[in-house]
Amino acid sequence: MNRPALIGAAVIAAALIAGGVAASRNARAQDEAPTAQTEISTDPQTIAAGKYLVAAGDCVACHTAPGGAPFAGGTVILTPFGKLVGPNLTPDRATGIGDWTDDQFVRAVKYGIGHNGAHLYPGLPYVYFNEVPRADILKIRAYLATLPPVNNQIVSNQLPFPFDIRFLMAGWNLLYFPDHGDFRPDPSQSAEWNRGAFLVEGLGHCAACHTPKNFFGADRTHREFTGYIVDGNNAPALVNSTSNGLGTWSAGDIATYLKTGHNAYADASGAMSSVIIHSTSNLTLADDHAIAVYLKSLPGPQSAPQPIAATDPAMVAGSHIYADECSACHMTGGTGEPGIIPALKQSPVVNAAKPVTLAHVVLNGGRSVGTQDAPTASAMPAFDGILNDQDVADVLTYVRNSWGNAAPAVTADQVSKLH
């Protein structure tokens, strides 16, 4: 049985067993949501606050299609289970959320239940948004109500059978959606830490990419923020580990990266570019710093694995390729150039267990993000056609085991699969 079929069978079983409990959960969501009628605020401060929360939640990522009208939906989200399409959030009554009540909107965001009562998929990260208080969600609504209505019919559920059966999510929710309710500050931590925790765990839904997933696409909560592979690229570890995480970065370094896309060690590219453009660069530096403070508190492995010996033939070959092709920009010590060329030394992307991003970038090149504060979108040239698969493997093995880095060797076979 292939993986999707297996998952499908398992999910159906889980759904059947858990159906009744889930139904009662659904009812609880209904109960929790007061039945007040819609009162969308037109207060400018509320709307501005809503816009800020929309940035914090990076709602654009899924709800504004490339080149499309803002929040009119249409972004294709490829999941391991199939295709979802981001719905239209404009106040259009026919195809957007114009005729939704506040309660319907809150239930969707916070509990993953659509306005018609059907289950939504966790492509809408309600698992994390669950922590966002109703008042904040209504501010988001207030902002969305100010957008020009766009008539754009979206068929969101484009998953293959059996995943297209929305009721399956009842079982999934029972297993993987604990419904913590509103974020509860930890009184033993600082206000800044709590603000960061709220942004990271709640609206920011950072775990959606950076936490490993289980067989059913749910977070492996005991390995939170230890990195995952999304769309064939590494979402690196965010834990406070120098061997594989953000241990070498100060909170200020993390905040600078989130605000500008660049810091002394790294230059954001790939999916994180979009997060920075639409979300974190639009947050206050104080909020980005709060996120950083929270991330710095996440424990990670403190003992580094042993690097491959420098005398290993792959390491020797890799060192020569590195000197020829890489060292001019990434420097002989792997330190990169602040603000423009990423450091390879102690980088979580470099030390990731599976070096997919690393190999992708060497083969195909990559481009960092330009922001208001750091407008230079520097780039890595493609080396496909210049280096063969064995060269790429050797130089990556070298990079992954030099300057304090330690990670498994890369093989030509691994590289060849990434073309």
């Binding site: 001019a328 150039e337 423009i340 090149g365 407008p375 230079t376 979108a377 040239p381």
Partner: protein, 588 residues
């Protein structure tokens, strides 16, 4: 039938160094700015990736980044009696094309005019008498002083992140810098480049002779840098592919690297690429520009109305547009009337090739502006009494690379192909070294630009005609300073010293330098100049001209430092004076 486009506050012709600086300054001041550029869009990352951009055949031989003669060219003659012929392959100079212009392929030597370069005629006449300048020499004072322009030199250097060592900081002479420079208000933004072996030997020899070598002020950055626009730059890798090339390491300052990342974020800025401006349009009085006409790459013609027109093309292309548009009176050398096209000048280069037996120079370790220079024989830094010329030039050890097709150091008697060439190349690659001069060129009554009577461009307009030759002053100057350079080469331990000072006639065939200046010169009144001290047209006050076309004559060093400073100087005048009260900033 031309399509008339919506009005803009500012139309900028050309998107190189000056166009991008003016666009950024005026867009951030709130004006709606369109830049219209003849060539393609260029982007540091995607056009010049270091994995393949160092392609000598494509860029240095086939001149990929440059103006194609089919787009437009110039006709050339040495004197007024000859019939000019079109330049069908650019050789002596190679104008840029596309975003970044000639600032994409420049080497990055970023000098400033010295104080006496500004009051050049007055200074020489005071020191050497009223007859110091021959009758036909039309060099004149700039209408600006070093002190006025100093903050803007500084601003340009900070934009570009120039690597260097101050020689005169607020009047205090600094060891290791150029003691002949005017007083700087600040040190260079980044420290000097590392020096290769050849340049190190040159500096040692020069110092031993009592001369004053200093690291060339370089736009090949010695370390990573973030400029005041927030734009990040990388550090030079000394790859030796600067001249003719774009830099994908973000290490060579250029418009596409230093300005565009910030400029493209301005919502009130638009760039139109592959769009050739054919004319600046005037109203019925002829005293006011109404905008520009351009033709896009599909041949469609557009009229872009604008309140302000900034001519920011390559130097002689600016002059061409003024002539085609009827702005200012064309210069006529016979009647000695008019100003547009007057005082075209150039750079008088020369070289001294030497062999340094036993040395391993590794000439491939270099950059376009990596090297050592000295100003002891530049400007009026030495006594010209009895020499029979004025001016001088920078003497440089700036061996910009060791590229195999175009940069082998040649010596007399070496075959240019075959087994003899191979043998000589093998013997000389590591021991051959080339020193060079960038000599000043004075302006003359018979060196000028006008419209060609015969040849036309693809739009049906007359080509620009260049009338130019070396004059005795430059030939004597080149002889003198090249001789001094050969002395340094000898002191380096050089053998087989092969000096080639400039010799007449001037020819457009071998590459010399793209330091073409003049033709739309700046001066104190409409009878001696095309633009006033703010680079504003005397005749049409809502037209400004930027770039080396405004130089009254050319000094003994590369022009880009001056060009950048004048762009900021003009932008400042527009922002602080012109916009408040549009009209002439200097009364004629």
């Amino acid at each position: 039938m031309a399509t008339t486009l919506p009005h803009k506050d500012v139309a900028i012709i050309g998107l190189g160094w000056t166009g991008s600086i003016l666009a950024y300054e005026l867009a951030t001041a709130g004006l709606d700015v369109v830049a219209i550029e003849r060539g393609p869009w260029r982007d540091t990352a995607t056009d010049f990736p270091p994995s393949w951009a160092p392609d000598e055949l494509r860029y240095a031989v086939h001149l990929d980044l440059f103006q194609r003669p089919a787009q437009s060219t110039v006709t050339m003659r040495n004197n007024i009696k000859q019939t000019a012929l079109p330049v069908r392959k650019f050789g002596s100079f190679i104008p840029g094309n596309g975003l970044g212009g000639a600032g994409v392929h420049w080497n990055g030597m970023t000098y400033r005019n010295m104080e006496t370069d500004f009051n050049w005629r007055t200074h020489n006449e005071q020191r050497y008498g009223k007859n110091a300048l021959p009758e036909d020499m039309t060099s004149q004072d700039w209408p600006i002083t070093f002190q006025e322009l100093e903050p803007f030199f500084d601003q340009f250097e900070k934009l570009a992140g120039i690597s260097g060592k101050a020689g005169n900081l607020n009047g205090q002479i600094q060891p290791g810098g150029n003691p002949f420079e005017g007083p700087r208000s600040a040190e260079y933004p980044t420290p000097p480049d590392k020096q290769p072996f050849g340049a190190t030997l040159y500096a040692q020899a020069a110092e031993g002779m009592g001369l004053h070598p200093f690291p060339i002020p370089s736009a090949n950055l010695s370390q990573p840098y973030t400029n005041p626009l927030g734009v990040a730059m990388g550090q030079c890798t000394y790859c030796g592919f600067c001249d003719f090339f774009g830099c994908g390491n973000y290490a060579k300052a250029s418009a596409q690297t230093c300005v565009m990342p910030a400029l493209v974020r301005q919502k009130n800025f638009t760039a139109r690429m592959n769009a050739n401006v054919t004319k600046i349009n005037l109203d019925s009085t002829g005293k006011k520009a109404t905008g520009v006409t351009y033709v896009d790459d599909s041949g469609q013609e557009f009229i872009q109305p604008a309140d302000l027109v900034l001519v920011c093309a390559f130097s002689f292309n600016c002059v061409h547009l003024l002539l085609l548009s009827g702005i200012g009176q064309p210069y006529d050398p016979v009647s000695n009337t008019g100003v547009v096209g007057k005082n075209y000048a150039y750079q008088c280069t020369s070289s001294v090739n030497i062999k340094l037996p036993g040395k391993i120079l590794n000439p491939f370790i270099s950059g376009g502006a990596v090297g050592m220079a000295l100003f002891d024989y530049n400007g009026d830094n030495f006594d010209h009494t009895g020499l029979g010329f004025i001016g001088g030039g920078v003497l440089q050890a700036a061996h910009t690379g060791g590229k195999p097709l175009t940069q082998l150091v040649s010596f007399p008697g070496t075959p240019s192909w075959g087994s003899g060439w191979k043998k000589a190349t093998k013997e000389n690659y590591q021991i051959g070294y080339s020193l060079g001069t960038q000599g000043a060129v004075q302006s003359y009554r018979d060196a000028y630009l006008d419209l060609d009577p015969t040849y036309r461009d693809p739009y049906g307009s007359p080509l620009l005609r260049m009338t130019f030759d070396w004059h005795p002053n430059e030939l004597k100057m080149s002889q003198y300073i090249t001789g001094k350079l050969a002395e340094i080469g000898k002191a380096m331990g050089g053998t087989e010293i092969f000096a080639t000072p400039a010799k007449a006639p001037y020819t457009v065939i071998p590459y010399q330098t793209t330091h073409n200046t003049g033709g739309a010169i700046t001066g104190t009144n409409p009878t001696n100049s095309v633009v006033n001290k703010y680079m504003q047209s005397w005749d049409v006050p809502n037209v400004f001209v930027f770039g080396a076309a405004v130089f009254p004559q050319n000094g003994g060093f590369n022009p880009t430092g001056n060009v950048g400073a004048l762009a900021y100087w003009g932008a400042h005048a527009i922002k602080t004076q012109y916009l408040k009260n549009p009209g002439p900033l200097v009364q004629a």
